[in-house]
């Protein structure tokens, strides 16, 4: 497991409508501001959260985001975990490729948000759902 660290606090945001994706962006903004990420880092993390939140809604049929503050020695990080009980991703490697899209997007959501974060993991199974966990360390 790559996301080593002690979880200090968590918050869960439901994702059922496109307004919830806005709430996801707002909560991630509040957390990253409190954690004193730079403006560019905040913007990257919020943008990744927006992409992944939209995926949870559109491809997963809704789900939730769990935010967590990770402590690892002197390092602090924000962990975002998006979960849904949707159909799952049949081909993860393909889904991560830029330009690939199964929905209305430009096909930059997964690959793009992976680039904006430090660590990225997809757990998915057909009929079970998808959980995407991603961390950005400060």
């Amino acid at each position: 497991m790559i996301f080593t660290g002690t979880v200090q606090k968590t918050e869960t945001v439901p994702i059922q409508t496109s307004s919830d994706v806005v709430v996801v962006r707002q909560r991630v903004r509040v957390w990253t501001t409190e954690m004193k990420f730079s403006l560019v880092e905040q913007t990257k993390i919020v943008t990744a959260a927006s992409e992944l939140g939209r995926n949870t809604l559109e491809h997963g049929g809704g789900g939730s985001l769990e935010l967590a503050l990770l402590i690892n020695g002197s390092r602090r990080g924000i962990r975002l975990r998006f979960s849904d009980q949707g159909p799952g991703i049949p081909d993860v490697a393909l889904a991560l490729r830029d330009g690939y899209t199964s929905g209305s997007g430009m096909g930059l959501g997964l690959g793009g948000s992976k680039r904006l974060m430090n660590e990225f993991e997809i757990e998915t199974a057909p009929g079970v759902g998808t959980t995407i966990t991603t961390v950005r360390w400060k």
């Binding site: 409508t17 496109s18 307004s19 994706v21 806005v22 962006r25 707002q26 903004r29 403006l39 560019v40 905040q42 913007t43 990257k44 919020v46 943008t47 927006s50 992409e51 939209r54 830029d98 209305s104 997007g105 430009m106 930059l108 959501g109 690959g111 793009g112 948000s113 680039r115 904006l116």
Partner: protein
């Protein structure tokens, strides 16, 4: 229903996006703007995104769609005021907004639109009315 206001100034339409747009609101703006261009025969559209704290792939795609639809309706679009952090993030995300004319601020955006529209009219004068067909 929630809407983003579209202001008219002569041949131009002006939009300032001042709320964190959810996807449906972005699509509503796309429809409203396209309809307004046609209604008032607008020649230019200026979209100010200086208040936007992020532009993700959906918002980027909506801006690109607006520019394409405006083009088909014979109007130029310019997007102004993108924050530096947003530009950095967009490029890293993998979007370079091809097909969208951008300018640093409203003033240079309007200057671009005036020039584009003036050049366009000159061409029309030279070739007659239907050269762009």
């Amino acid at each position: 229903m929630e809407r983003i206001p579209i202001l008219r100034m002569g041949n131009y339409l002006l939009v300032t996006i001042q709320v964190d747009m959810h996807d449906k609101l972005a699509l509503t703006l796309q429809d409203d703007l396209t309809n307004r261009i046609s209604e008032v025969s607008a020649k230019g559209v200026l979209i100010d995104i200086s208040s936007l704290e992020i532009v993700d792939s959906f918002i980027g795609r909506t801006l690109a769609n607006i520019a394409s639809m405006a083009k088909v309706l014979d109007a130029e679009t310019v997007v102004v005021g993108m924050q530096p952090a947003v530009a950095i993030t967009l490029v890293e995300l993998g979007m370079s907004l091809p097909g969208i004319r951008t300018a640093l601020n409203v003033e240079s955006g309007m200057e671009y639109l005036r020039d584009a529209v003036a050049n366009h009219e000159e061409r029309d004068d030279f070739y007659g009315d239907s050269t762009e067909d």
